[in-house]
Subunit: 353 residues, 4 copies
Amino acid sequence: MFDLGNFLTLSTFGESHGVAYGGIINNFPAGLQVDLNKVQHQLDRRKPGQSSIVTQRKESDTVKFLSGIFEGKTTGTPIGFTIENENQKSKDYDHISGAYRPSHADFTYDQKFGNRDHRGGGKSSARETVNWVVAGSLAKQLLPKEVEIQAYVSSVGEIFCEKPYQDLDFSQVDSTDVRCPDAETAEKMISKIKEIKKEGNTIGGTITCVIRNLPVGIGEPVFGKLQAELAKAMLNINACKGFEYGSGFCGAKMTGKDHNDLFNEDFSTKTNLSGGIQGGISNGMDVYFRVAFKPVATILRPQESVDKDGNTITVEGKGRHDPCVLPRAVPIVENLAAFVLADLFLINKIRRI
Amino acid sequence: MFDLGNFLTLSTFGESHGVAYGGIINNFPAGLQVDLNKVQHQLDRRKPGQSSIVTQRKESDTVKFLSGIFEGKTTGTPIGFTIENENQKSKDYDHISGAYRPSHADFTYDQKFGNRDHRGGGKSSARETVNWVVAGSLAKQLLPKEVEIQAYVSSVGEIFCEKPYQDLDFSQVDSTDVRCPDAETAEKMISKIKEIKKEGNTIGGTITCVIRNLPVGIGEPVFGKLQAELAKAMLNINACKGFEYGSGFCGAKMTGKDHNDLFNEDFSTKTNLSGGIQGGISNGMDVYFRVAFKPVATILRPQESVDKDGNTITVEGKGRHDPCVLPRAVPIVENLAAFVLADLFLINKIRRI
Amino acid sequence: MFDLGNFLTLSTFGESHGVAYGGIINNFPAGLQVDLNKVQHQLDRRKPGQSSIVTQRKESDTVKFLSGIFEGKTTGTPIGFTIENENQKSKDYDHISGAYRPSHADFTYDQKFGNRDHRGGGKSSARETVNWVVAGSLAKQLLPKEVEIQAYVSSVGEIFCEKPYQDLDFSQVDSTDVRCPDAETAEKMISKIKEIKKEGNTIGGTITCVIRNLPVGIGEPVFGKLQAELAKAMLNINACKGFEYGSGFCGAKMTGKDHNDLFNEDFSTKTNLSGGIQGGISNGMDVYFRVAFKPVATILRPQESVDKDGNTITVEGKGRHDPCVLPRAVPIVENLAAFVLADLFLINKIRRI
Amino acid sequence: MFDLGNFLTLSTFGESHGVAYGGIINNFPAGLQVDLNKVQHQLDRRKPGQSSIVTQRKESDTVKFLSGIFEGKTTGTPIGFTIENENQKSKDYDHISGAYRPSHADFTYDQKFGNRDHRGGGKSSARETVNWVVAGSLAKQLLPKEVEIQAYVSSVGEIFCEKPYQDLDFSQVDSTDVRCPDAETAEKMISKIKEIKKEGNTIGGTITCVIRNLPVGIGEPVFGKLQAELAKAMLNINACKGFEYGSGFCGAKMTGKDHNDLFNEDFSTKTNLSGGIQGGISNGMDVYFRVAFKPVATILRPQESVDKDGNTITVEGKGRHDPCVLPRAVPIVENLAAFVLADLFLINKIRRI
């Protein structure tokens, strides 16, 4: 219960200032020659300190596999892994042990559980996503080689990448610090983030993710629709506020005549407002979706708040925080999507005789 | 696997032109005096033929409970129920048995499963939601009496209900055919739908749902975040294209300074851009979210398409279809939300000593 | 949660004196031409009134499929079914509505749930197994044709079928009323049951089940061992008190030198004390296990007991009850085993690349 | 899927010659002051090298908790833990990398997965049970203080502890190396094991487990019967061949008149052949069950076998192995039972309004 995935599952643990993060991947098929460098590469894309526009925390984020892989191949048994916490500055949080930071989970955790690890958010820290990147980057290797999953930052604040994804050169995503493949827009986004950072403020944005060459048939008809599984995964990302796929909220303004995707004779469709999914099942066209992220709640400016006794206090973020999570969230979105797809891909293999 | 819910679960069956729909609710607590009239009332809100702007199909949609309720009280054992199909005009679909209708699931089902019940969409029909309304309206009765779950149509095409939900009189939702509580906007929406219907066309829109008086603590920290469970449920609704909660996609344009919800001394917050959820857990403020619906794919106009052999054909919707699903989707959204909440509410009872 | 099966699942409902029993089978693969006569045949083997040594209750036990099968083939979508209750003599139970019958679940249900359907055991009735026979006999059709699952009554009271199963002619199981293929033993068992019945008493026994030609590789290494899944299923049968497989409790008396099954060069083993399972996974040899059934608790004789207020009362079974459940339990054991195997068989298809 | 438990779950990983064992406990309630010394104490009861009649392998079996516990209390978030492998003598297994040892899982793992970690059984090693002891001993602390779970060795080979459990002094279980509380029987068992060990042979036996003071109401009516959950857990222990509870296989020889447990006026029963469970639900009487263990397959004598190519070879166990697993299996049985009970105990808290 409360794992990621249905057949291929990920169970995780870890708090930001505990000993380690880690997880167990269950039901990963045996016999796959896995490239662990790809896993570490994805972790490196997510890790702090990559550029001047993300947090300067130092974490090597090195994954250690403890089981399930033997002589480079998966054995079909549970894959256990850990990522140790290294650069904890728990003292940065001493001043807030009794404080409820605005738009953080301090209050809700205290109310729900009665106690919590208050150092740096504890379980509510987005550092949890390090586990998902490990699992997703392994799961990616289960998918047919031709499946491409590419996300990019499509907006920061009011700055939007206006070009349709078809006009972007995805090979350029990682060549800008902000992970927007359109150089001009990227520059504007980076300037904006630097400006925001200087103010001790933070800013939100959106990530668009495109999945190409996905086989037809992925997704389940009722409570396991492909879009529902993707939405659930994305909405579990800490700062995520919304999900739309295909025409999304824009599609809600349209009429059926304009929205319907007419077929070509090879069963591809002339348009793709459906976002590659019909009836919860992939149809072979690109699956694409967009995820909204709120601005990081920790700002390096004084804010009025309350402590656990209801006294008015002033809190001010210390330590090293992201002015904008979007660049580091790109690999999270991609690898989370990969896990969802691999799970449904495996299941689909046994859905007909 | 692929049930709705985690502890309190709903498993369902049924095809639009099969014998019956139905489901099993597992782990419903014993001892609840259930009001079955409320269940039927919710079904009546969803059923066809309520007004001139929805499909004129005739279905009594009468639920029959087969187990789990004795002398008006739940017994703690599985609640089985069926809703018989009555007004099937399977012949309306004879002409399309080999056709792939645009933006329907005909093609994907055929590809995934190799065969399908082609009468009226079979399993892909939104008639499945009748099961969810039954389960959700029972689940609603598990929640504390003060919890209010109210959805309404917040847009049809380009017509938006511009007022914030706080300014609306929710008692008026059902008093207009379109289920928008703002009379003036409702009128515009209704006119639009009638116009669209006349053209044999269909139109999309959005539904906003507001949950009031939800206790603090509902939702789980990692893969069972309240927003993720709601998103998953909503994205399983047939025509749903997107989900956002709290500030949603707008929040992605904001900065942390403006987005953070400052606390009052009673732990309520001065603003509620968080949408009543922090760290995946309810904080006692209103939970609100918005769901996007695409226009119905079946239009009563000729469209070019292909058949299963890839031959070009013309398809034209016959039968009785909704020009706009939004009014009938309001009870679906509400009752689905109720089920999600009841599941997490029960689980929350055993999350601390 | 609390379904039968892991990927292929059965969720069920029904009380002995409610409207109907039924269930939903999820994730049954599409495209299987199913023989529904075989399902009904298995139900007929289980149903009351087959012979003079079982209960004389009249139930047609006709299964009605409501979804998931179209033109004789499975569609890959949930298979819903019901079996209506017909011959309820609820009045037979009026006298016991406040009584706690010895070794029945009246007391525990009341304590756990606070209320219960007291007519004939309600949910605790073994009539629930009718659902399992439906699901199991469909699941059986998913297994390779050569897989044979045969159970038989191996003891009634102190009367044991002493021959090893290899010496029995399984084609004779159904030719005796007691479902023991050894004619001589069967006769003794039948006499014993008749004698017991005359006394208004009941008697226990054991069922042995043999699975032949099961492919190698069925079962999962840790918490899904084949023997554990079988044990769990069997122990859920109402009167079941024990399960052993292979050498079972006798094996616990042996030494490793004598117990180890040495290999032949074709990887078959010279002996089969392992019962066809090593490390939780089938090895291609016969899987065999034995299930213990206690005597039916309802006896047609006065017994001292208490009512719900703790007053001493006398209860006496009325109505039509089985003096010995074993003959009717044979198809239950077989079909339950079939379901367990089909679930693990499907899963095994995706456990290696 | 394939976790231990339903709501409170344990997911595990580890191979005998990998880096570490470990697991994640999900949904453990927050706020419990846990005594980690009790956990280590249970591990010490299970660990090798305790006495001359068990394996002399040296493993400190020290558990390291990585998350979910803060300042001595559970936080309600996942509890991650590892136990490092220390005393691996992988070279002891070099000679058998291509061999299929009789009654081991070498052949079935190779067939199922295509490859395996062949060092010391890999995943099929009973060292996996170290994880269960950690989880079970934490879970035990969730149960009401008065619940006692005590197992003991009730037979070794043909030597049985003939006294009913009621006549035994459970405080003496750990005072003998073999963990049989009856001194005289214990001595015979120890002699037998020593004799067997000298021969390089191994021997089986049974463990009886008694659960006292369990509250009424634990267990679920259909697929989660208390006995079924216990049976499933026990049959997942590597060498387990059978499970019976209450009257067990003996009960199958009895008649209803003799087997029924008559009530006292306080709802206790005069006899307890039911083993404390009626209808799958605990009734407040002692729950007791018996588990059969086969003799360890690794014997220190030459045995004929085959290699993976089907060539006849001779294998001979090297290294340090248990002549009899029973003494070390006592804490495994107890802690596994504790986990099963804690899971159902939590669930029972939300089964009625």
